[in-house]
Amino acid sequence: MIRACVIVFPGSNCDRDVKVAIEAVTGRPVQMVWHGDSEVPASDVIVLPGGFSYGDYLRCGAMAANSAIMRDVIAKANAGTPVLGICNGFQILTEARLLPGALMRNASLKFICRDVTLRCETDDTPFTRCYRTGQVITLPIAHADGNYFADQETLDRLEGEGRVVFRYCDAAGSVSAAANPNGSQRNIAGICSENRRVLGLMPHPERLHERLLGGTDGRRMFESLLVGFAEAMSA
């Protein structure tokens, strides 16, 4: 039985959405964990949800990255527990240095809330195994600070190690400046850690996990976890 938990920071606002999405796919209750706790309960996946933790004070995710619970999230991530950071969760993962780079103000300076098309660049992560490498999917973005930045050396390393997981593209899958909503370097929408078990992405899979919401492309991210878990259990 897969055990998932969602960390709740003051200002998180997608925590319950992602809980609903995971429960719909796994059929198992998701545990909510408060940021002031010092220990994450035994989990097969930890989710850092979207929102505006600590009001985005100082920098998006900076305060949350230093909260009590994050010490244990970092320890568990380093020990191999899969960690998924969505939107503000991605910002927290970079601020906590679990992922390289930083998310800066959108090049347009505008808050962008709309569906985008993405190309899944690798199915080799616990979160993308139910997608096909090269598959074009639609997910919504909703952020003011999603402009991914890293120095050239870091970008080259990410590309070389196949750690760019999602890229903004057009409907045909072509990665172009016109398809880049926020100015991200190399159209990067999501990256994973060296051990591939920590994924951060700006788009919101939990917001398109069932037909009633307008699409199901996000659902496969949570199905991926379930498939991986079932395999690990039968191994």
Partner: protein, 80 residues
């Protein structure tokens, strides 16, 4: 003692807010303005015993929290 801390984007890191400010200055009809870069200014009261201790404290808070050294530089003065 007090630390006067300035946090700025590293050279080469795009600064869309600075660009927008640059445009707004131009819109005021003020000529002769080159590139504008914006950042943060933070004042911190310190209970440190001496300046060396104050500097060590400020270094730590800058590195661990106040600046994101992936994209930002920091500089500071310690004043009495």
């Amino acid at each position: 003692m007090k630390a006067l801390i300035r946090i700025t984007l590293k050279p080469g890191v795009l600064d869309p807010q600075g660009k927008a400010i640059e445009g707004a200055i131009g819109a005021l009809g003020i000529a002769g303005v080159g590139e504008v870069r914006q950042g943060k200014y933070i004042e911190v009261d310190l209970g440190a015993a001496d300046e060396a201790a104050a500097r060590a404290t400020v270094e730590r808070m800058c590195k661990d929290l106040l600046a994101n050294t992936v994209i930002e530089n920091y500089a500071y003065d310690i004043v009495r």
